[in-house]
Symmetry: C2
Subunit: 209 residues, 2 copies
């Protein structure tokens, strides 16, 4: 099957809405994050090369490179979420006739569930970085497109909060509680200031409109 990023938006939305289990919220989170990173790049691309903003030229070049790196990562997570979910389903589908079967199936489920915790956690981290970068875009980018920096922070925030739900749900089914708690702690660290930071960036932008 072709990768989701190669599907028309309409087809993706139709499949998201359908009763098929994939794509789901995890892919939606990655698309929100990727839109956030793309909007930062847009602000950079509409700032770079303009004499009026020569003072921030190198900073905007660096910001663009970081945003494009995050966009590539987040675009990959659109598919990664579906792939890991399909692996979870495959593990649940393993035979469970004998005790040996049951042990092997349980081990397979637990192993893939760790990956299914890591994928949204990494997506959440990339979204959190996108929130941080959007502040620079809002403060130093071309003020004519400051509302796009605002769109960036809101898209990234939506992606972060959505990816977080998938970390909670998958970590919750892990028997290795040390691993699960460590991942939830990593998530908590990046979530801690996200809401306040996002709202602060949004209000700065709103005040400049």
């Amino acid at each position: 099957m072709s990768e989701i990023k190669n599907q028309p938006i309409q087809q993706f939305l139709d499949e998201l809405a359908s009763k098929s289990a994939t794509p789901g919220g995890g892919s939606a989170a990655a698309i929100m994050g990727a839109q956030g990173a793309a909007l930062i790049s847009m602000v950079c691309n509409l700032t770079i090369g303009k004499p009026k903003f020569a003072e921030v030229e190198s900073e905007m070049q660096a910001l663009l490179a970081q945003a494009e790196d995050l966009r590539a990562q987040l675009t990959d997570f659109i598919q990664a979420d579906v792939d890991v979910f399909n692996r979870v389903m495959a593990a649940y589908g393993l035979p469970k006739e004998t005790d040996e079967d049951k042990t092997a199936r349980s081990a397979a489920i637990q192993a893939v569930m760790k990956d299914a915790t890591i994928v949204p956690l990494e997506c959440a981290k990339a979204c959190a970085k996108t929130i941080t970068l959007s502040q620079i875009a809002a403060e130093k980018g071309n003020p004519n497109v400051i509302s796009d920096a605002g769109a960036a922070v809101m898209a990234a925030y939506g992606g972060l909060k959505t990816a977080a739900l998938n970390v909670y749900i998958n970590a919750g089914s892990l028997k290795d509680r040390d691993f699960a708690e460590a991942k939830i702690a990593e998530l908590a660290a990046i979530m801690q200031d996200a809401e306040t930071t996002t709202e602060a960036i949004y209000q700065v932008i709103k005040a400049k409109l």
Copy 2:
């Protein structure tokens, strides 16, 4: 040019990131909202027809119809944002040689700016309705996909806050202050409880994971 909804996701993200002024935050807002509505439909489609949820069957059917209606509206706003922006640019491009030119140009800009205020306002309204519907999906939908109801509310919230920025910025350039203030008041009414409602729905879902 083909409609944005028919473009592959990768191409849309590339064009969003580019120095082209469109697509921008307004289209990103509409896609966030459409993803939110699609995720509500997903929850409905994974609830309807299951004997376990027979009690909420008719409510889920009604919710699905509403979510699909909102999804269609929000998908239309992806393109509508670009179309109205292009009309704004065309108005700014009108000749301004003579006094007569200037008067006609200014009138054309002001007329299309009203539309450029209405388009994101309507998008914001559809996102706000999506937030409201996601609460029903979270409370009564199949609990196995409750995290997708959480993704729905966050996507719709991101869409709402982003569309709002475009209302503020375009209303700000209107000379007809009565019209502008009326539109900002309409927006304020739907924004008022959005943050609290979104966070409440999110916390209900998180607690159920």
